[in-house]
Subunit: 336 residues, 2 copies
């Protein structure tokens, strides 16, 4: 029924071995022969059977992307970056979302992926997440995004530095009571989360400001969570005059909370976010922008490189951050 390599071989007057080599661009094929084979394959609309090729070669021809979420802003974007570079390669992108490792619905990806991928791209997941840890035993190349592990390539940003930029900006504006809206209660399994908190604490300390648990609240990386967190901060005895939210989504929630309390972001309470969400621009939110799609793209490229030359050592990529100042931050003004 379908074309096989034998049909091409016959038609081109060569052996199947030569067809295989010619089509894959291997050396030791006469350019003339190669071209002839190509023509025949083209004319007959031949595509190699991936299954056969994979079986014979032992390569799976795909890489797995393991992510806690697909639909959330950050993850969808990283995924998009990954896909953009994998598109051009001849590897399949297998998508597997596992949910939040700290939730009960979390499910380990491990089993399903055995024997069917050549490498892994892991987004944000801590390396000791159930099911994720086992990946390393497979000894296939792995590129970690937003975290790292000895011997593993990694791609990410400098979360501490980013967080410091945000908080320093508030310090520079004269704020002395700077709140934090974090993801969840420490210790967090997520590296970026921990690091952003570190940056916050360090910057406060360097500015000679006190670190008060009373200035911190958890926002769970959602808008609602951010809103609740801000509301809770406002209700404290001595509320902050500025707040650093560890994600734009939480920051947007914070803005909303402020408005519903009759406060104006910037004028009454300054808010800085983190991410570079489009909505940040539209809601005039100052934020630390990270190159999210690029993170995905670089990670994918790193994995491809690793697959091409398995002898290479691990690579660590750190992408630049940029602070975009907008109306949600302003010099401190004691509230009337």
């Amino acid at each position: 029924m379908a074309m096989t390599i034998r049909d091409i071989a016959r038609e081109a007057g060569v052996s199947t071995a030569t067809v295989s080599r010619a089509l894959r661009g291997l050396p030791n094929v006469d350019p003339v022969t190669r071209e002839r084979v190509r023509q025949v394959a083209e004319r007959l609309d031949y595509v190699v059977s991936p299954a056969a090729s994979r079986l014979a070669s032992g390569r799976a021809g795909s890489i797995a992307v393991i992510t806690p979420y697909i639909a959330r802003w950050y993850f969808a974007r990283v995924l998009s970056g990954i896909e953009s570079v994998l598109q051009a390669s001849d590897l399949d992108l297998l998508l597997s979302s596992v949910g939040d490792p700290s939730e009960s619905n979390h499910l380990p990806p491990h089993r399903k992926l055995r024997r069917r991928v050549d490498g892994f791209l892991v987004i944000s997941l801590p390396t000791d997440t159930p099911g994720v840890g086992e990946i390393f035993d497979l000894d296939l190349p792995v590129v970690l995004i937003d975290t790292d592990r000895p011997g593993c390539s990694s791609v990410g940003i400098d979360d501490v530095a980013g967080s410091r930029m945000a908080v320093q900006h508030l310090v520079n504006l004269g704020h002395e009571r700077i709140g934090l809206i974090s993801g969840r209660a420490l210790p967090s399994p997520f590296r970026p989360e921990e690091n952003r908190i570190v940056g916050y604490h360090e910057t406060l300390a360097e500015a000679g400001l006190a670190i008060e648990p009373d200035l911190e609240a958890c926002g769970h990386f959602t808008i609602e969570g951010g809103e609740r967190a801000m509301t809770s901060l406002l209700a404290r005895p001595r509320p902050p005059t500025a707040v650093f939210a560890m994600s734009d989504e939480m920051a947007l929630g914070a803005l909303r909370s402020l408005r519903s309390h009759g406060l104006e972001p910037g004028r009454d309470v300054s808010v800085v976010g983190f991410d570079g969400h489009e909505m940040a621009e539209h809601l005039d939110l100052t934020t630390v922008v990270q190159p999210v799609e690029q993170i995905g793209a670089r990670a994918a490229r790193a994995l491809l490189d690793r697959l091409d030359s398995p002898t290479e050592g691990p690579v660590h990529v750190e992408l630049p951050l940029e602070m975009v100042v907008r109306g949600s931050t302003a010099p401190r003004r004691d509230r009337s």
Copy 2:
């Protein structure tokens, strides 16, 4: 090196054929034998080689999701819905994004996917998109999302009805000059886009209101686009007192435009969106909510069903919409 089916056969004292049958749950295997084989496989940590299995069986063991975008809100969500049901199956999810068919960067998915998938899930893409049309020649099962085609299963919403709900709501509030922020200029290759426009026109007509090109503007489904569209509408000789934006993102842009013109959404100009974006809730936007993740999930399930029983005819699923009224719409009040 790695376990093969022969190792299991030897260990369990049966033939490889029996192992194969036992592990796949085929009939005609003694329950006792089956269990023994299962135990052995488990103990030896055996996983079948997908490549070998696919080659021998002729099934690709994967389905392709073809989408114009990955990172955009709607698509990421549909994808998430798809993944959630495919996760439980033993099919791989191959992701392929092709870009907007009307843009120059659009690339056809066709070639890469030949021979490597058992079926397709196509999100939003018109069936005559370059590269997408060819999919149907492969005669593999295809489930279309947001569009349809004779002989193909499809999953979606009733865009005309949704649009009518939105516009009727504005009519009921007494508005007579109701604007439209659409995606792009007609004719659009996207079915939902056309249908939402139809719903808009029909409802106006039924309400005895005039259909004026002057009340319509394109927002390209982005926030910026929506903002520009609203701004342009406001600048017209007789601006609308209410606007239906065909997506929440455009509606949010519209809200922003209103605010920057000193107008208050709801009080001065009513705005209705479409989608059910989280941000809509937070910006108090009235909108028609569609069950986006469910759309993906249902589509995936439809495809799985089709793969299980290829004799079944195509299925058409239409998911319910819900209108959520918030502060961005209010009875018409002539502007002071």
